[in-house]
């Protein structure tokens, strides 16, 4: 075996090792973020996996418990369906004051139509986020000063807030991979729960 061949093998091994190490580090970083948030808020952290690598897979990271008496459940899911890959996260709490069912979209870009556009009156918020909803009264009720500030602090720019029957849900595309991506939306949901309990 010549020196060049040996160098090629070493290079291949290094590249594969680097990729594996990167995946492991990313996984550990994600796990560390969930652990940190679970410790901070007193929530239980668990993982679920359905399916084998051969077919469709559904992997979920769950945080569950109560924060200052507010029940919270966070589910971040990675799912494969055929050639499709889906990542999504939702955080749910209850709706004890029976806020009427509504759907509120928080967008990072202006919508193409202003039919359902709702301005909050908060110049700082309205400059960088756009709200669409067919229930503007619910928007004004739920998006309090604190909720708007929490939403602005989130690294994610797009959210969906849905109140349906006894549940209030904040959801967004993607799964959190850092502490900020996990903690900021959770804080936003807690602020929403506070607003709904007014």
């Amino acid at each position: 075996m010549g020196v060049m061949e040996l160098l090629q093998i070493v290079a291949v091994v290094l590249v594969i090792g680097g990729i594996v190490a990167g995946v492991v580090m990313l996984s550990k970083k994600e796990g560390a973020a969930y652990d940190a948030v679970a410790r901070k808020y007193g929530l239980a952290f668990s993982k679920e996996k359905q399916g084998t690598g051969l077919g469709n897979v559904r992997q979920s990271s769950l945080l569950q418990g109560a924060v200052e008496g507010v029940p919270v459940k966070l589910v971040a899911t990675y799912e494969t369906r055929g050639r499709m890959r889906m990542r999504g996260t939702w955080i749910a709490t209850d709706n004890p004051t029976r806020v009427p069912p509504c759907a509120i979209n928080v967008l990072g870009v202006a919508p193409k139509s202003d039919l359902h556009l709702v301005r909050t009156g908060d110049a700082a918020f309205d400059a960088s986020r756009w709200i669409t909803s067919d229930t503007p009264t619910a928007v004004r009720f739920l998006l309090t000063d604190e909720v708007r500030a929490r939403l602005l602090a989130c690294p994610q720019t797009e959210f969906k807030i849905v109140v349906d029957g006894g549940t209030l849900v904040l959801s967004f595309g993607g799964t959190p991979s850092s502490l900020a991506e996990l903690q900021a939306p959770l804080d936003a949901l807690l602020a929403l729960a506070k607003a709904a309990r007014k």
Partner: protein
């Protein structure tokens, strides 16, 4: 919020405000009826023409291939194969044309009743990113029905908002956001009515 939005929505989803007004009254607009009746006609014609071409081409082609004076056994066998291929292919296309005509007649009989089916509820937008050179898909769903649309039409819809969708069979006729009122009443009254009508609950303290 104005009639402009409805026109914009109509342009993007293929209906006019007049057609929408007819659908809101539960009937098909004559233009929609004509459009629906036209659907599938070209496919049936193309299939029938293809079927006849294969049939005639196969039979005449086989005769031509065989020739008229002392053909060899191989030539006769090949000519028979050409004939059968033409008949089989032609028969298949003609069968498809027949099925298409039958379906059209059945659909048209239903359309002639002028009935409009209604779906009402929260609208869900679905965007599937195309991979490997495939085009992106833009879909929306209200109740049990989902339709594909173009990005421009998809962008005009609001996720989670309540829409009323008018359909005939598997065709979308028109759609309208429910709180939108052609008479133009004030927002609060519409919202209050919207809460009561669509969700079957009394308005809470949000709507005084």
């Amino acid at each position: 919020m104005s009639a402009d939005h409805l026109e914009q929505l109509g342009r993007a989803h293929g209906f006019s405000v007049d057609e929408l007004r007819s659908n809101l009254q539960g009937v098909l607009h004559p233009a929609q009826l004509a459009r629906l009746r036209r659907r599938g006609r070209i496919a049936a014609i193309v299939l029938a023409v293809l079927g006849l071409a294969c049939l005639v081409g196969g039979i005449l082609g086989a005769d031509e291939y065989q020739g008229s004076y002392m053909p060899s056994e191989t030539t006769i066998r090949e000519a028979t194969q050409i004939r059968w291929a033409g008949v089989t292919l032609g028969g298949f296309f003609l069968l498809c044309a027949g099925i298409s005509v039958y379906r059209r007649r059945k659909r048209n009989a239903r359309y002639a009743l002028g009935q409009v089916e209604v779906e009402q509820g929260p609208l869900h937008k679905i965007h599937v990113q195309g991979r490997g050179g495939a085009q992106d898909r833009y879909r929306f769903r209200v109740g049990g029905r989902a339709f594909d649309t173009l990005e421009a039409g998809w962008e005009l819809l609001t996720e989670g908002a309540i829409y009323r969708m008018h359909c005939a069979g598997d065709e979308l006729l028109s759609l309208i956001p429910v709180p939108y009122d052609l008479a133009g009443r004030d927002q609060l009254a519409r919202e209050q009515e919207h809460f009561e009508r669509t969700r079957h609950i009394k308005p809470s303290r949000l709507v005084q």
